[in-house]
């Protein structure tokens, strides 16, 4: 029992206060009326994600060269300003900053998702890349088999996803590591996408 047992008066107060209260039956509908005037939370999330999510760019060789040259120039100027003193480079060592070798010029990565579901009438993949929308990315059944597949271009990095069978049954990818519990009680998987094709 509770610590309030130590005094009958306190216990009585607590017991009485535990009783449900009677509220205005229309209050819940007023809440829903207010909610319906609000924008969908998913929409705002997508805008936010579009601004901040990492993404890959396709650059032509000319654009890549110009970007690299620009970064080299910025690096050289920044180096001069920061040092502001006479520092001679060792003879024979290139003056190119390391950033040149880390240019983010990889193409989008194509990823193929595969799921086996013999009894399913439809399967889709959901994840952080499609706003967890069960209708955005349907998978296609390979003819005369129980294999469902879909191929998606994804940005490089870590992606959390799951498969949804017949619109309601969530299932992790048995071929990928499980993601940490997201608080929803759903099994999710993790895929790390690198540069190039992941087919």
């Amino acid at each position: 029992m509770t610590e309030s047992d130590q005094h009958p008066y306190v216990e009585w107060i607590a017991g009485e206060a535990r009783r449900p209260v009677v509220t205005d039956p229309a209050a819940r509908e007023r809440i829903m009326m207010a909610v319906r005037t609000e924008p969908l939370p998913q929409r705002r999330s997508r805008v936010w994600q579009r601004v901040f999510e990492p993404r890959a760019f396709r650059l032509s060789p000319v654009a890549s060269t110009l970007l690299a040259a620009g970064l080299v120039g910025i690096g050289l100027i920044a180096g001069k300003v920061a040092n502001n003193r006479d520092v001679r480079s060792p003879v024979g060592e290139p003056k190119v900053p390391a950033v040149v070798q880390q240019l983010p010029v990889s193409p989008d990565t194509v990823v193929k998702f595969v799921f086996v579901a013999p009894q399913a009438s439809k399967v889709s993949v959901v994840g952080d890349f499609n706003g967890w929308d069960t209708t955005t990315t349907p998978m296609v059944r390979t003819p005369n088999s129980s294999v469902w597949t879909v191929t998606l271009p994804l940005t490089t990095g870590r992606h959390v996803y799951s498969f949804v069978v017949d619109g309601s049954t969530w299932s992790a990818d048995p071929s990928a590591p499980l993601a940490p519990d997201d608080g929803f009680g759903r099994p999710n998987s993790v895929r790390i996408v690198g540069r190039g094709s992941a087919l």
């Binding site: 449900p20 509220t23 939370p41 608080g183 929803f184 009680g185």
Partner: protein, 192 residues
Amino acid sequence: MTLAPWGWVIKQNMSDDAADVRRVLAGDVDAYAALVDRYYDRCARFAVRMLGNRDDAEDALQVTFVRAYRALDRYQERDRFSAWLYRILVNQCRSIAARRAHREKVFVREEALLLNAPDRSTSWTGEDEEFVQRVLSELDPLLREAFLLKYIEEMSYEEMSTLTGVGVSALKMRVKRACDRLRERWERIKHD
């Protein structure tokens, strides 16, 4: 009718909450009504006990549920929906209590509205309702909050700490002081 203990509510509703949140985030706004229905009574009890009158409580509930809806896209990285919702509610009750502190502090007359309950078996009898609410309203708000979370919502101190951001030892002290105040009140009644 009684409301189930806090821990039971968390376990039983977890998967339902997750499904409803996902439906809302997928564009089904009406799925939010299920979450409102599931938690309204419990939140209403806390708000009425905390704020002392139904009007303030309903304001707190309205703002709490709308704010939770607005922030639902950020909920995925947080805790169980019930705990997350309660955190918003507790903060909202604090705000309303602070904003209206200058108003008349005893809410007996407004509380009497609750006495016209259609089903007497599920509500208080008038005298007890009025009396208990007055006793609670005499407690310092921080003591009242801790007392309600502990003995009315039946949370553990760890749950309370997560919800309020206050340390466990400080919460234990607040609950103890609340009980002390109630006992002192009892002693005064006996001697009057």
